[in-house]
């Protein structure tokens, strides 16, 4: 088939990102031509400021070198500006007269600096700040001249001012508003920022308007005159008073524009063969000037160009960060607040810290941080998730680290870490290595960092720190997304919620059919998506969808826990942590017979036999004659209990029996992640119910139920859920809650994360307030469990299932053939 022709006008971040996404989806669909007005390959425009400040070189910020274009057979035409689109002939013409035909045209022409319409604005030494040429002009001017004036106290203006100051110039920033960054900061934070910048030697003229730029007689600027009549010297004037979408080409070609090229949710202009995205495009009234939204747009646009057409762009929540080394500033969402919002503020003017969080209807809608931005990424996630924060409101201001954390010496602030400090304790990756990988490879998301460095790719406890490092390195361009918005893995663009919905709505019951229907990009997925899909299928359609053992990780396939030497551990179930002499004898006999190197009591009140060879597993299970403890699964684990009223002098309820009953209720239950319960017989809480997925505390008048506790990577205390009178009610509420969790949580989402995503009110609504729904949920759980049986027993009794445990011997054959 003859390839279609795709022409990209604009060799910048938005356009090239679209090509990268497109090449991933449909590498052979198009013959691609790229026109770039600048003489450089695609570079990281947001890192121009570090280049200006002398912290990085131009070579370091190149994202796609010329090799990349060659490798992908892209016809790159540098230094050529497209001046005409002939839509009838489907042809673009460049300023040198060369042309290219297109079947699809992508406009990513970016933006132009807004040049104030004042006398003198065309003098030599008056520039904008958009590209590498401007940056070089500034660097050169700083060598020969001494006075710089920056017009505009926005992000770009301040970064320019800082860079010019670093290069030794005397810098004054002129700003119309009465505080800096009025679009990113409230007045208090703006003033703090001003003080911090003044201490670096930058001067400010606020609430000031520029009247005229004065000529030195040779056509070069020499001074700036204000409306009030003051005049200050200026050898260089940088206009940073905003940007205007560059729509010149589109307008000339008759494509409707209105402060940007108008595009729909698939980034198409009114001419459906022509797409536009990035700073030049106006989507639903907004032209984005930040990088993160451009990446979202690129994904959607590539999806459409690849003729898939199921992705839509619906706008982005944006966050910003000032890239001035040593000054930490972060803002996102609606940080000003207004009618119907509440504000929490922390202000420490001496310590230079100011934080403001804006809450509306129990949801965090915006925030503004100065001085300590370590939690910026976390707040940003909360804002994007729209999660209910009423339960964590008390410590919301103190950030994610206030919620408990282990594994990196209690460090929760990446900014304070030296480069040599270990961030990822699993894979031994230090901060310096992560920063280097981000800069050298142009990384924008935690997933990319994982892929390049392995940091945060094992237990994931340092993902927050990695995210902070990413944000502090690339600023607002960091692609920080909550799990609910992230694609499941590299095999698909869909997120967990979309996949669950499709499986339910379309009645999908097999893995291959699901992957086909959802346009999976790989033939049989990967180690990330297959276990998730398998869980979604069997939990949504019990009895219909068939479990696929090959899509389960080894522990769930072998029904035992693999150990570092390839042997397994076997944990038989002890209902409620109660055992008897006969079971203990059998365990002792098995341990003797199979030379078990270690017998250990677990944290979940049972006994672990470590070091069993895989081929011995079925025999061990048979001789133990006890059910599987599921200590290896994303499933019900244990119900920990205290002695309770049967023996304990303080006990108010029979916690042991309730624990046993609950464990029977949930036996063989698969879930998005592991599920642990505990039942205590009195408020002394010896069973540690406060850190379990479901914790029950017996009191004289009944039972208190708590959900969403966790004793792992982050210690999380369970939240009060409901108080009931009888043990039977506990069993009903418990089953209903866990079924809801099974239906709604994303794969590998513990109850605590599920709870914080959907909110306690949502769970109470379904389980506590709606008796019918509760009973329906219980019935659904029981129906699902009716298809399950003890996996150990199944494998002892079914020879085909045992096969996987056998090893094929060919030693004799080999010896014979030698």
């Amino acid at each position: 088939m003859k390839k279609l022709k795709l022409v990209l006008v604009g060799n910048g971040m938005a356009g090239i990102r679209t090509l990268e996404e497109l090449l991933k989806l449909a590498p052979d669909l198009y013959e691609i031509t790229v026109f770039g007005a600048e003489p450089h390959p695609n570079y990281n425009r947001i890192l121009l400021s570090p280049v200006l400040a002398g912290e990085q070189t131009f070579e370091e910020i190149v994202l796609n070198d010329l090799e990349w274009y060659k490798d992908n057979q892209i016809d790159l035409r540098l230094g050529r500006k497209v001046v005409e689109i002939d839509r009838r002939k489907r042809l673009v013409v460049a300023d040198d007269g060369s042309s290219a035909e297109y079947d699809r045209l992508l406009l990513a022409t970016g933006s132009n600096p807004f040049i104030l319409p004042i006398p003198g604005n065309r003098l030599e030494g008056v520039i904008g700040y958009r590209d590498i040429a401007d940056t070089i002009t500034m660097m050169e001017t700083a060598k020969t001249h001494s006075h710089a004036v920056v017009i505009g106290g926005g992000l770009l203006g301040l970064e320019a001012a800082n860079g010019l100051r670093q290069r030794g110039m005397h810098v004054t920033v002129v700003h119309l508003s009465d505080w800096l960054l009025e679009r990113q900061l409230d007045k208090t934070a703006g003033k703090l920022l001003q003080t911090a910048l003044e201490s670096r030697g930058i001067h400010f003229r606020l609430s000031e308007q520029t009247e005229e730029l004065m000529d030195n007689g040779d056509g070069r600027v020499c001074a700036v005159q204000f409306k009030g009549g003051d005049v200050i010297p200026a050898d260089l004037v940088v206009m940073a008073a905003g940007i205007r979408p560059n729509t010149e080409l589109a307008e000339k070609s008759g494509i409707p524009c209105n402060r940007g090229v108008l595009v729909n949710d698939t980034l198409q202009t009114y001419d459906p063969r022509i797409y536009a995205l990035g700073e030049c495009a106006n989507h639903r009234g907004t032209a984005y000037g930040l990088v993160a939204p451009l990446f979202d747009q690129a994904k959607v646009c590539a999806n459409h160009l690849a003729q898939l057409g199921f992705a839509r762009y619906q706008g982005s929540v944006t966050s910003t960060k000032l890239k001035v080394t040593g000054i930490d500033l972060f803002s996102a969402g609606d940080f000003i607040g207004g009618e119907g919002t509440e504000t929490i503020t922390l202000s420490d003017p001496i310590g230079g810290v100011y934080k403001k969080l804006v809450i509306k209807d129990d949801v965090l809608v915006g925030g503004c941080l100065f001085g300590d931005t370590a939690d910026g990424g976390w707040y940003f996630r909360q804002i994007k998730e729209g999660a209910n924060v009423s339960q964590i409101r008390d410590h919301l201001m103190f950030g994610e680290s206030a919620l408990g954390d282990v594994g990196h010496q209690g460090q929760s602030s990446a900014a304070n870490m030296p480069d040599s400090m270990e961030v990822c304790g699993c894979n031994g990756v230090c901060k310096g290595a992560i920063v280097k990988a981000i800069q050298e490879n142009g990384l924008f998301s935690v997933d990319e960092v994982k892929k390049h460095t392995k940091a945060a790719s094992s237990c994931g406890s340092c993902a927050g720190l990695v995210e902070q490092i990413l944000i502090s390195t690339v600023g607002g361009a960091a692609d920080v997304k909550p799990k609910s918005e992230k694609a499941i893995c590299g095999c698909s663009d869909l997120n967990h919620g979309q996949i669950r919905k499709a499986i339910r709505d379309e009645h999908m019951i097999s893995l291959p059919a699901t992957m086909k229907f959802l346009n999976w990009s790989t033939p049989n997925g990967c180690a990330t998506c297959r276990p998730a899909l398998n869980y979604y299928l069997i939990s949504t359609w019990p009895g219909e969808a068939k479990d696929d053992p090959q899509s389960r990780l080894i522990n769930e396939r072998a029904h035992a826990n693999i150990q570092k030497d390839g042997t397994y551990s076997v944990v038989p179930r002890m209902w409620g942590g109660v055992t008897n002499p006969s079971e203990l004898r059998r365990i002792a006999d098995v341990a003797d017979k199979y030379n078990v190197p270690m017998v250990k009591v677990t944290g979940g009140q049972r006994i672990d036999l470590l070091g069993i060879r895989k081929e011995d597993l079925p025999a061990v299970w048979k001789e133990l004659d006890m059910p599987s403890g599921h200590a290896y699964g994303k499933s019900i684990r244990t119900v920990k209990t205290c002695v309770g009223s049967e023996f304990c002098r303080f006990g108010t309820q029979n916690s042991t029996q309730l624990g046993i009953d609950l464990e029977h209720d949930l036996f063989n239950m698969w879930s998005p992640h592991k599920v642990k319960l505990a039942v205590s017989g009195c408020p002394r809480n010896c069973a540690e119910a406060g850190i379990k997925d479901v914790g029950i505390i017996g009191v004289d008048s009944g039972f208190e139920m708590y959900i969403g506790g966790n004793g792992g990577i982050k210690t999380e205390v369970a939240e009060f859920f409901v108080k009931v009178k009888t043990a039977d009610e506990v069993r009903e509420y418990n089953a209903a809650f866990l079924q809801l969790y099974r239906e709604e949580a994303f794969y590998l989402e513990r109850t605590v994360h599920y709870l914080s995503r959907v909110g306690m009110a949502h769970i109470k609504q379904a389980v506590v307030e709606d008796a019918e729904r509760r009973k329906a949920l219980v019935a659904k759980l029981q129906y699902a469990l009716s298809f399950e049986q003890d996996p150990w027993k199944e494998r002892i009794e079914t020879p085909q299932l045992k096969k996987e445990f056998d090893r094929i011997a060919v030693v004799t054959l080999e010896e014979a053939s030698v």
């Binding site: 389960r552 570092k564 054959l813």
Partner: protein
Amino acid sequence: MNWLDICALEEINPLGSRIVAGPKGDIAIFRASDDQVFALDDRCPHKGGPLSQGLIYGTRVACPLHNWQIELDSGEAVAPDQGCAHRHPVKVENGRVLLTLNNAKECTH
């Protein structure tokens, strides 16, 4: 080459594996979804994890211990990890899986 008869192809699950007890330790035989078969020493170049127990997708296997991704055809770890698992020639003829032991040292990592 001395081809050893191992088992019928059906005795290995699609996207599954079997272990052959070789003279120098276990060898993992993998079956990809398109019925291609591959054989590697059953030791991950990272910490010796049994690759036969990993999850197989496309023509890669994810080690069950620390999720290193190993290319089944070359035995090479996928970047950023570095290392390789020793390969053995393997083929399917008339529905039987045949294996030859490769004693040459290939891995240079």
